[in-house]
């Protein structure tokens, strides 16, 4: 049961625990941030994965990203700068700001609520469920029981 709870809480923990710890090396950061943004040419692809030939935007944006990392801003600052320049759709997933928090919190919250609800429902059902006789009912004749056993033997 504890395992259930722990696993159920994981998504919440992760969402709440989105922290940026330490500074990864430049290439890893480039790769990481490149995956957190979209190409703005309308191809609906992740920036670093945009691969269509002659894309008017992705090369330029990736160059901007490289110089931004070299310029020494934090990840959040870079993302915010890109957002200011290209609009909020450039981020591959909304940041944890204002209404956007809702995007992140609702699904895990609903799952946790659902789990809690199911637990309570099951508890209620168990209380209401008539305790079935766990012993053989005497009203059933031995002959009938034999017949059933014969039919259902493996």
């Amino acid at each position: 049961m504890r395992q259930f709870m722990r696993l159920a809480l994981l998504p919440l923990l992760i969402v709440l625990g989105v922290v940026t710890l330490g500074s990864a090396d430049t290439e890893a950061r480039y790769n990481d941030l490149g995956h957190k943004m979209m190409c703005v040419c309308g191809c609906s692809q992740i920036l670093i994965e945009c691969n269509h030939v002659g894309c008017p935007d992705s090369d330029r944006m990736l160059a901007e990203l490289r110089s931004a990392i070299a310029g020494g801003g934090t990840n959040d600052a870079i993302l915010t700068a890109f957002q200011d320049k290209y609009g909020p759709t450039v981020l591959a997933a909304p940041m944890l700001t204002k209404f956007n928090i809702v995007a992140w919190v609702v699904p895990p919250a609903l799952l946790v609520l659902g789990l809690a609800g199911t637990f309570m429902l099951v508890k209620k059902w168990r209380l209401r469920a008539a305790t079935m006789p766990a012993v053989e009912d005497d009203a059933v004749s031995n002959e009938l029981r034999e017949r059933i056993r014969k039919e259902t033997e493996v």
């Binding site: 002659g54 992140w104 699904p107 799952l111 659902g114 789990l115 209401r128 493996v154």
Partner: protein, 688 residues
Amino acid sequence: MPAFGSFALLVALALSGYNLLAGAVALRQLATGRRSWISPEKLAETARRAGIASFFATACAAFALVWAAFTNDFSVAYITEHSNRALPAAYKFAALWSGQEGSLLLWAFLLSAYGFVLRARHKVDVKLTAYASTILAGIQVFFLLLVNVAATPFSLVTGAVPPDGNGLNPLLQYPEMVIHPPMLYLGYVGFSVPFAFALGALMMRYPGEKWIHITRRWTMVTWLFLTVGIFLGMHWAYSVLGWGGYWGWDPVENASLMPWLTGTAFLHSVMMQEKRGMMKSWNVWLIFSTFMLAILGTLLTRSGLVSSVHAFAQSAIGTWFWVFLVIVLAVCLFTYILQRDHLKTEHKLESLVSRESSFLFNNLVLLAACFTVLWGTLFPVLSEYVQGNRVTVSAPFYNRVAVPIGVFLLFLTGIGPLLAWRSTSMRSIRKNFVLPATVGLVVAIAIIPLGVHPWTIFTTDGQGAFYAWITFAMAAAVLTAISAEFFRGARVIQGKSGQNLLMSMVELTRRNTRRYGGYIVHFGIVLIFIGISGQAFNQSHEQTMNYKQSFMLGPYRVECLDYSQDSNPNYDTEFALLNVYRGDHFVTKLAPELRVYAASQQPSTIVANHSTLVADLYVIYAGKDPATGQPVIKAFLNPLVAWIWIGLIVTIFGTGIALAPNLSAAIAAQRHRAAVPAEPVPAGRAGN
């Protein structure tokens, strides 16, 4: 021919309309006992036949469109837009579903084909089938209205007939694209059948749960089609789009995933109803939702409500789908409210630790996953409404939110089958869980030195490795649990028949195909999970390459042997020839390509992929360096991707087994006849 196609569609609409009306009137008369000048049975029979005939009419229309494609009839606007003379024959056939009008026609055709089978086999249960057939006719009317009025595939071009067509989108010129859409549509459309049966059973207050038995195969076949459709789409994305991945969380992909998730939930929870008479309302709503999600998916992607890479999709047809969806919802709600007392459960849940409750949690998690996908797909629209600007909700969101749910689901896959129906005691838990848990733990520890580091969860972007670690460990546990089930069962058979263990396992599976087929499906799904986890360890490298130049990626050294270009009537191509070495050992030759199609002037990459069980070396020709003319090569090392496709094959195999009839049922029936030879055949049996 286009005129014939149009006419056939009109006939099909009339026939379906008649099926709906006459069927409804007949059922109403039978239900109320009111008679008119024609007996309701006869009226119902004409309705059924109209349904069957509508299949032939729709087939004629589909044939007419394919014929127009093959004969290069560019007087048809649709053919001009989606085909051209140089297009290979197989792709001309695929023109039927490469545009909106054609795919709606295909949808209508598949629906009537399902309807045909259902109506032809009406003797299974005449009354229930009559209800289902009438409901299905209603759905048919909607799609036939669409192709007759809103998105007509046979419209003629205005002005002079063009000498050649615009050609098929080159991205779609790939063998899998010929079968991916029909598979997906077979899946979407197929859910109409269990939906129609469920709604029909509720309308007629069908006694007992036999209707589930009748629809079981339909649901499983549909589920299989949808699964295969989704995975073919993934494989196509992986092999054709050339961005190194197989799932981009695009709205169209999401739209196919949602009914899959609820359909999977339905497949599981319906077992509780069949075996224990529980969860009736829940199941009815699950199948209602699955059907509505299939429609909603189409609506989302076709109305332009959410933007998608599937460019052909956007049009004003969304309104039609909205109206249809509202009607469906209203009918479902109305029927449910009217008949809900029919859905009282016979049993209540008796324990939190039981097979039933594991199904309950499985359902909950599948629905949570479905909701997450729906939420992510719709959030941009919501955001625009609330805060005035659109946002993007893409891979990073789903990786954070949906992946943990997936891991939880994997956990339930493992424990569910080990729990007993009704209630499981602690002793039983110890008995069944020790082995899988131990194996899981051992694997969890053993893979740490191999580079799967769970503590990366505390770093910036390291959740992937952490989830991969959990997934691998849990996959090991689940595979052990499944194997143990087979092993234990086989031992019993072995004890009785004296066959060897392997033969006993075969017999075990044949005696209860649904259960053991289901386990094989779980096996496949676990393999797929393992394959997906490999993503956490992807690597990539991009470089402009001259002759004899090389780079390292993982264990491989990729060396440029040559690069050149070529032309044929359908496309121009540029390509590079690369030698791949592992150490000093030659592995393979790869030839990534970049094609520019003549008719559409659209470029398309042809991926070169060297796939092994450990990893795929996936190489694309990203373009030419404008200064030197040398090719830019982008290479990905994607671990474990092959496991996904193997898992799919296992899943297909398992579903096939689950569809096969039980050996034990046949044996039991035989024994039953032998035991009670003198039992008279009761009068009421004929109808079943």
